[in-house]
């Protein structure tokens, strides 16, 4: 199936117009309602669930730099520190009771062992400050457990269901990561590719939070089964979240 079609030939599976998911732009953030729960997409790529005072970050991919270095590509060793500092700043600002790392917290299973001393200390101090939950991802196994916090395969947060990899089929209230959605927006003779949240009001896929994590274009067919009627991209701008409908986006 073509990812872009001529203007005048509407995409067949979008012939039935579906209302856009209910969104509200509140300051720099965008609020969405899922199963009656308000979730707030933050410009940094984290999700805030006010009613449970829960901060959700996904795909931190800590120690990705050192993982590449092991194989001979000497990426800068500062990614873990950069990522953790950003989570810490959000914790400072929002004072969450629960912090959820939604899987792929480390780039590989041996990542925990490679943590630099100062990063390990920083992470442990963060874990000690709240109820920290590691949702298991396909990259990490049970390794993060040794740092403290709880490990869950799935976490229920009121009506919301948090898991790393999105399930196929209907999944109301599901918040997942894994796919690293990115949006490519065109205009003024060029295009900008940024990380984004993707939601159709039923479910939501989180952007990757890690400093070195790239992304998969929201127009990729991997997203088709998750959002059969299309999705909204909540694109991460420099200082605010900007919504854009999927059909406005470009494929790579």
């Amino acid at each position: 199936m073509l990812s872009q079609v001529p203007k005048k030939t509407p995409r067949l599976r979008r012939t039935v117009a579906r209302p856009l998911p209910p969104l509200a732009i509140v300051g720099a953030n965008v609020e969405a309602r899922m199963c009656g729960v308000t979730v707030t997409a933050l410009p940094d790529g984290a999700l805030w669930v006010a009613e449970s005072k829960a901060l959700i970050v996904s795909d931190l991919h800590l120690e990705k730099g050192s993982s590449y270095a092991l194989r001979g590509q000497m990426l800068p060793p500062y990614d873990t520190h950069a990522t953790l500092t950003r989570v810490a700043a959000l914790m400072e600002a929002l004072a969450p009771e629960i912090v959820v790392s939604l899987g792929d917290s480390f780039h590989d299973g041996a990542g925990v062992a490679r943590l630099a001393e100062r990063d390990r200390e920083l992470l442990q101090s963060m874990i000690a400050r709240c109820d920290w939950v590691w949702v298991e991802g396909n990259h990490d196994g049970r390794a993060p457990e040794t740092l403290g916090g709880a490990v869950r395969e799935v976490l229920h947060l009121g009506a919301l269901v948090l898991r790393h990899e999105p399930t196929l089929g209907v999944a109301p209230g599901e918040i997942a990561g894994h796919l690293h959605p990115c949006a490519k927006v065109a205009g003024r003779g060029r295009s900008v590719r940024r990380r984004c949240f993707a939601t159709d009001g039923e479910r939501l896929v989180m952007p990757a939070f890690g400093a070195f994590t790239g992304g998969l274009n929201l127009r990729d067919e991997a997203f088709d089964p998750l959002f059969p009627d299309g999705a909204m991209a909540l694109v991460l701008g420099k200082a605010r979240v900007l919504p854009a409908p999927q059909e406005r986006l470009l494929s790579d």
Partner: protein, 848 residues
Amino acid sequence: MDVPTLALPPRFEAWFAERGWRPRAHQLELVRRAQAGLSTLLIAPTGAGKTLAGFLPSLIELAPLADEGGLRRSHKLHTLYISPLKALTTDVARNLEAPAHEMQLGVRLETRTGDTPPHKRQRQRAHPPDILLTTPEQLCLLIASEHARVFFEDLQAVVIDEIHAIAPTKRGDLLALALARLRRWAPAHRRIGLSATVADEEGLVRWLLGAGASPRPPTPSPQGEGESVIVRAPPGATPVIDVLDSDARIPWAGHTARHAMPEVYEAIKRARLALVFVNTRAQAEMTFQELWRVNDDGLPIALHHGSLDVQQRRKVEAAMARGELRAVVCTSTLDLGIDWGDVDLVIQIGAPKGCARLVQRIGRANHRLDEPSRALLAPSNRFEVLECRAAQEAVLEGALDGADARAGGLDCLAQHVMGCACGEPFDADELYEEVASTAPYADLTRAQFDRVIDLVATGGYALRSYDRYKRIVQDLTTGRWRARNASVAQGHRMNVGAIIESEMLDVRLAMRAGMRPRPGVPKSDAPSPMTPGRRLGQIEEWFIEGLTPGDTFIFGGQILRLIGVRESDALVVRATAEQNPKIPSYAGGKFPLSTFLAERVRQLLHDPKRQKKLPQQVRDWIKMQKRRSVVPAPDDLLIETFPRGLKHYLVCYPFEGRLAHQTLGMLLSRRLERAGKKPLGFLASEYAVAVWGLDPMGDVDLDVLFDEDMLGDDLESWLAESTLMKSMFAKCAVIAGMIQRKAVAADKQTGRQVTFSADLIFDVLKQYEPDHILMQAALADAGEGYMDLKRLGALLRRIKGRLVHRDLPHVSPFAAPVMLEVGRVPIQGEAEEAILEDAASLIAEAMS
């Protein structure tokens, strides 16, 4: 040069005689010098038998060896030939095989390029040919192989073709380093550089022979007894250059030269075969369309540019060679090397940008040295008329511009260090000496060199966390460095080179699958999906991104409609001719106006005597400028301020080329912003910079605004946000091996993902280690190329105290062309956010 009385071996004499030829003086001189073991830089115009001159000494040396041993003798690599173009190696091999065969020399000569199959490469390594023809990248690969020393130690000669085109580039950095390595393994080999006429001959000699070399070495020296290293073929007849004085109105602005097409067509009609050079692919497409629009005689006119499919290009080249064409519209793809036919006229559409380039292009016409080349310059706007005239004068005087020799890139050095470690283990002291002996790295300090070693070994970070994952390790007993393991070496070999191409999409005709009605299957109204069909060529990704599906554009001389993008394919269908295609916007040539030519344009502008030959319309335009404003003296900078519409403009005319102007425009905008002038945008052309805003700008202190200190803090703060800097960094990171385009393991990364992750890496590195050596390398590149800081610095120094300000009631004649180009150019940095916000505002509407 005295005509040497040297006699060639009998079968060579006979071969020349059979063809009714005589060896030319410079060819004999090269043989004589080679016999004395001397290296040479041969400067010769096209058609002077340059290639044969380069190889003749080798063939003469090899002939008796082959006679003794026959073809089955155990071969040693005798001569290495390097050219920047893969196609040129194949072409030269073909041209050499003929005489070698006719003289029954029994010489084995082979090419080795990216297309050479693995089994042939392996065989070449084990049993080298007498003469190997290859590219700089392949040489780097050979050096990074384990038995490189054995392979090269019998080497007698290195021939480097089109040396003027390679030397001032990053590929030139890598090649200079590789040559230094060859010198270690085969100390006695001679080098022959083949070059077109250049401005900086000494720089080329140094590049060819090492930092210490000079064109006239002192006596005694291994380079010969005080005689020149440079051999000159006699120059061809002085070219005949005309600047088209069009009867039509010469446009104020624009780059299409559409007005001149009927006259260009007439010139083509009078010629046997014309090459029509343009500066960009978009211009090539446009010119091709326009020529066919007026082609009432149905002349065979073809199109040739780098984005076209290789097969298509080969077809055009073959047709040229067969003499079936009357004109070929082409970009720089036909600048170099290969001769494709009996060209007798070169037409340059639009400004030539530089004299050396123009001379090279003109040289494509008429390969018989005794007849003058004929060229016609067709300027596309009034400023370009001045540029063409200045270039014409310069070429006739024999004055040339040229790329300055540049300092070697640290990223290239890193790649070379890794390559050395993959081949024979190296000693750091020895390698430093070797590297510093090359011209590009002559000023490299030992401390910088050690930082590069550290970069290769552990990434070179202040935080020493990768000391346990070294890419290269030092042997404890010998102290020599080698690659840590085979997989690291393999990773390097897969990523050799300094050519980082902009991302390209394949243009393919879309086909509708299953259109034919089948019996028993009811006809469906729903169109079946489009699938990619025949490949038409390649196109820059950024260009397609600017289109929306449904838009039309010209490609390969056809009007196409974009259907969509699928993976790396742009799917298109043919659109009918009467539709108005959305022509690619002119993004400027790849090459900015040269400093040398710019200076001549400024002088011409101020010298009424030399303006007599200019078209009347242009003279009137200059006269009007004098009346309404002022024509500045060559070293002055004219600044005009005036209102127009609801906006206020500041326009200045440095004539320093688009790249330097872009940087200047950016920095002026920042300064005006700080001065509270609320600039809204700026535009940079090859000749001028315009900034505009809502407030009058006439009262700004211009001496302060144009002060040299703008290259300090303002530049730094801009660079921190600039996307240019990110893309510079990404290229350096790839060349230095920090990011590998091709991974050994399964996790294949596409070019795009590399760009993306390079952005993220840049952000993190900028925050945590802004002084990292690759950041320095990226900054150096930005200064040289894309931002032209060197040139901007020189401009700001030149105009100190020489600002001429005119506060005008309305737009001046010189400003008019600039104003016509003023489009939607938002201040960069804000632009990205603006794109996102555009999309968001749509939603706001939809939701309200």
